[in-house]
């Protein structure tokens, strides 16, 4: 019990720190929304007079009071689940805007991360079990894909698979002309079809790390005494591989997986840019380039919460999988 209480106390402090940083960082950035709006309006040929600045200042409201007062308001609003109004999407609530983008990112990047992890761990395990087999040759290939800059890999795949051989669509989350979002077979099919290529690039570019890590852990675990004991007992090799070697070898990868799950929500700004995917990465990009503080704070908050939550879950699970972490020294 004490183990879990300690963990929870730690996460409460981490949460407070994240929330506070989240409040401070946007305020340290240069520029203010009214100026940005005026330069955008001027570029679109809208009339700008002294009255315009005044009208925008009234319409956008903006923060008032001392920084402490703003901090107090921010915390109170946060507790009410109120993240404020997004300036770029004025007068829409930040929660609505994030709510629109979040499912796409979680589905795409989340599934791709899980697939990449499972494939990488599985292949790594086999490669470690049968050292010197053809699987070992796969490792340099996958690490090469990981070393290639991601945007470059993605752009090449886009060029080849959507332009040269047009198998996949080049942009969007689903086919907007033939279906509408909902729990219908045609929508889900379309979403999978549109998400396949972006997911493929994420898997290709991240599988190498999982595979290499798992293979090497597997190799060192296999030299442990308890493996020798298990083999000497005459256990089925499969049982030795799975319950004795793999279960222990996967532990370090699992904590890495927790962290990467947390970052799923941060999305992959580059993936979403290259594939025009309507997720949270694009949202964050738009928010930052428009000085939309409320939206930035909202996105950062969701990211920090999900990283913390993923870590908490894995910490707890880790205690179950590996009893050693629970024991007091």
């Amino acid at each position: 019990m004490r183990f879990y209480l300690q963990k929870i106390a730690f996460y409460v402090v981490a949460l407070w720190a994240a929330v506070t940083l989240n409040f401070l960082i946007p305020r340290l950035m240069p520029g203010n929304p009214v100026d940005i709006m005026i330069s955008k309006m001027a570029a679109a040929g809208q009339p700008i007079t002294a009255g315009t600045r005044h009208a925008l200042a009234i319409e956008l409201g903006g923060s008032s009071g001392s920084i402490l007062q703003q901090y107090g308001d921010y915390i109170v609003n946060l507790l009410h689940g109120n993240l404020g109004i997004s300036l770029t999407n004025y007068p829409e609530q930040v929660t609505t805007v994030i709510g629109q983008a979040l499912p796409w990112t979680i589905a795409l990047v989340g599934l791709a991360t899980v697939i990449s992890f499972i494939l990488g761990i599985g292949l790594g395990m086999l490669a470690g079990w049968k050292r010197g087999s053809w699987l070992d040759n796969l490792i340099p290939v996958t690490t090469m894909f990981q070393a290639v800059p991601y945007f470059w890999l993605a752009l090449i795949l886009v060029l080849v698979l959507t332009r040269v051989v047009p198998i996949f669509p080049f942009a969007g989350g689903y086919d907007v002309t033939s279906t509408t979002p909902g729990f219908s077979l045609s929508f889900i099919g379309s979403a999978i079809y549109y998400g396949f290529l972006p997911a493929l690039t994420i898997v290709i570019s991240s599988i190498g790390g999982w595979m290499l890590g798992m293979r090497n852990m597997m190799v060192s675990t296999l030299s442990e005494d308890y493996i020798v004991t298990a083999e000497a007992k005459g256990l089925n090799p499969r049982r030795v591989r799975m319950t004795y070697a793999a279960r222990n070898a996967v532990l370090p990868s699992l904590s890495g997986f927790a962290i990467s799950l947390g970052f799923v929500v941060a999305g992959s700004i580059v993936t979403e840019q290259v594939f025009s995917y309507p997720g949270i990465g694009q949202l964050l990009f738009t928010a930052v380039s428009n000085d939309d503080y409320a939206l930035m704070q909202g996105v950062f908050l969701v990211i920090s919460l999900s990283v913390l939550a993923a870590n908490l879950v894995v910490d707890v699970l880790y205690g179950l999988i590996d009893p050693r972490t629970r024991a007091r020294s």
């Binding site: 240069p30 520029g31 203010n32 100026d35 940005i36 709006m37 330069s39 955008k40 309006m41 001027a42 679109a44 040929g45 809208q46 009339p47 700008i48 007079t49 002294a50 009255g51 315009t52 600045r53 005044h54 009208a55 925008l56 009234i58 319409e59 997004s86 770029t88 999407n89 004025y90 007068p91 829409e92 609505t96 805007v97 983008a101 499972i118 959507t162 332009r163 198998i167 080049f170 942009a171 969007g172 989350g173 689903y174 086919d175 907007v176 002309t177 509408t180 889900i188 099919g189 379309s190 999978i192 079809y193 396949f196 049982r239 799975m242 840019q273 025009s276 309507p278 694009q282 380039s289």
Partner: protein, 567 residues
């Protein structure tokens, strides 16, 4: 749980996923190319928006957060002012208008028989309501002038201004949406609604909305007939992340109407015969200089000879070719467009900036002002080297290219140029508050093609502020010249063309001499069209409306009702 069962389950799951994926693939690839269902004609637009759309059809919103078709396609103003060419405003909900002699009363004849998209009649009362709604709401009234509209007959509305207000004409008649009183009077704060069920008088109305695409359909109650009635049944809007995706979409025939700068446009057009484009250069790209030492500017650019030398040291042919892919148009030192505003340029000398560099002249100007060429190839005066810095937004590739090329071109004239690439926020802020030497930006047209707007917004003392405070309008150069101020004031208070012409001459004589903004070229504004599903798009020679599908461009509505489906 035994390891064996785990593995088996995993295997089954993988097979299931693979099967689902193949099914989905085979199922979708067959219908992904299908166009609209038979019978309805449809086009697809890309308006430059990235990510998810937020449902907002509030035409009164100043922040530009409404979806671009709101103003133009769904809501209409009284008249349409075409910025792409000079000419009389096009009557929409108004049919004619006249000013009284001192410019304080504007009488508008209102079109009769117009209906809202919900079938209810639109009347002069709605016009009065809409105009007063804006005038009385400080958050909506961007002009800062309070007018009063009154109905004097069923088809007549008189708008009274506190002072002479000829220059407000395009704003009031051409930039204020007319909204139904019956709906908007129930809304307590018109700035804070998203108006997701828009009811307007425009040629199109909302059919369906999802965050990734929305569809407008023909308004069955539209007042226009024949050529001015909408003919394409549906208009769909999609979002794409960047110019690469836009290029792909255009070539793949996935968009019919978009406005994006595509450097390879000529190539794309040559390869795809069904595509066409138009270029409506509007914004004069210029080196904005913080020129006024009296208001706190510092640096060599406060010296008029330096600004003049830069004007002559530029090789604009090279800039056009390499930064604008040959799509820019020659600028005029008068800062107005020599295409649209040719009649208002008062001297043939002000018609066009020199296209080739004249290094000898630039050097002569500097030497006459006391600058001495140093051994390192750069000029200096009183121990200070002629070293200028220019701010540019990193990622605005055309501007970044201009700055890099200028470094070389200015070096030949003995001027050292340092380029500061910065984020847009920082760039906007330093320019607005005057904390810069030079800034790469553009002089934009106002709400109509009347040069008054450029001159008032970029040159008048009332549009600027001392360094350290944000400029009240866009006069970030801190330019302040009493004779220019007087001439701008004259422009605002007269409707007499000969008086206006004299004022233009005063202003142009002064700014060509003072050069607060050093013009480079008139930036391209490219719109691309696909002619397979619809024709009648604007062409280079027939720009019946300013075509770029941007929010706030009422011309988009004119384009959408003019095009016709290909049978």
């Amino acid at each position: 749980m035994s390891p064996r069962s785990t593995r088996r389950r995993l295997g089954v799951a993988l097979v299931a996923v693979a099967a689902a994926a193949t099914l989905a693939l085979s199922g979708c690839s067959s219908n992904s190319t299908s166009t609209s269902s038979s019978g309805t004609t449809s086009i697809t637009m890309f308006t430059g928006q990235v990510g998810n759309f937020t449902e907002n059809f509030n035409p009164l919103n100043n922040t530009g957060a409404y979806l671009p078709q709101t103003n133009g396609a769904i809501y209409e103003p009284l008249f349409y002012y075409n910025k792409a060419r000079a000419g009389k405003p096009v009557p929409l909900l108004g049919t004619s208008y006249s000013w009284n002699s001192d410019g304080t009363q504007l009488t508008v004849k209102v079109r009769q028989g117009v209906k809202w998209s919900n079938g209810k009649p639109e009347t002069a009362d709605d016009v009065v309501y809409s105009l007063n709604l804006i005038s009385n709401n400080a958050a909506l009234n961007t002009s800062g002038v309070k007018w009063v509209a009154k109905k004097t007959a069923d088809d007549t509305v008189v708008i009274t201004f506190p002072t002479t207000s000829f220059t407000l004409e395009p704003q009031v008649l051409g930039n204020e949406p007319i909204v139904p009183e019956s709906i908007w009077k129930k809304i307590s704060d018109p700035t804070k609604v998203t108006n997701t069920e828009p009811v307007g008088t425009g040629p199109y109305m909302l059919k369906s909305f999802t965050p990734q695409s929305y569809v407008l359909e023909k308004n069955p109650h539209y007042w226009g007939t024949g050529a001015s009635a909408p003919k394409v049944d549906q208009v769909r809007t999609i979002s794409l992340a960047n110019a690469d995706a836009a290029t792909s979409a255009l070539q793949a025939g996935k968009t019919d109407y978009m406005g994006a700068f595509l450097p390879t446009l000529k190539n794309i057009m040559a390869k795809n015969k069904n595509l066409s484009y138009s270029n409506s250069p509007q914004a004069t790209t210029a080196l904005f200089t913080c020129e006024n030492a009296a208001l706190g500017c510092t640096g060599p650019q406060t010296d008029v000879a330096v600004r003049q030398a830069m004007y002559y040291a530029m090789d604009r042919t090279q800039l056009d070719k390499q930064a604008a892919a040959g799509f820019s148009a020659p600028a005029s030192p008068s800062l107005v467009l020599n295409t649209v505003n040719k009649a208002q340029i008062t001297s043939p000398k002000y018609m066009e900036v020199p296209q080739k560099a004249n290094v000898a002249k630039a050097k002569k100007l500097l030497e006459a002002d006391g600058w001495k060429l140093g051994s390192n190839g750069y000029y200096a005066k009183d121990g200070q080297e002629l070293d200028l810095s220019i701010n540019v937004v990193s990622g605005w590739t055309d501007y970044d290219t201009i700055c890099q090329l200028l470094q070389g071109q200015f070096k030949a004239a003995g001027i050292k140029l340092t380029v500061n690439q910065m984020a847009q926020n920082a760039w906007t802020q330093s320019e607005s508050t005057g904390k810069f030497q030079m800034s790469m930006n553009s002089v934009n047209m106002g709400v109509s093609s009347d040069p008054y707007f450029q001159y008032n917004n970029y040159l008048s003392t009332s549009a600027t502020a001392p360094v350290g405070q944000p400029a009240k309008s866009t006069n970030t150069s801190r330019y302040s010249n009493p004779s220019v101020d007087a001439a701008i004031k004259k422009l605002a208070t007269t409707n007499d063309d000969s008086v206006k012409q004299a004022a233009y001459k005063t202003i142009q004589d002064q700014i060509v001499k003072d050069m607060p903004y050093v013009p480079v070229y008139v930036n391209s504004a490219l719109a691309e069209y696909n002619n397979t599903r619809a024709t009648g798009w604007p062409t280079q020679s027939n720009q019946y409306a300013f075509p770029l599908p941007w929010g706030g461009n009422w011309g988009m509505g004119i384009v959408l009702k003019t095009i016709r489906p290909v049978k």
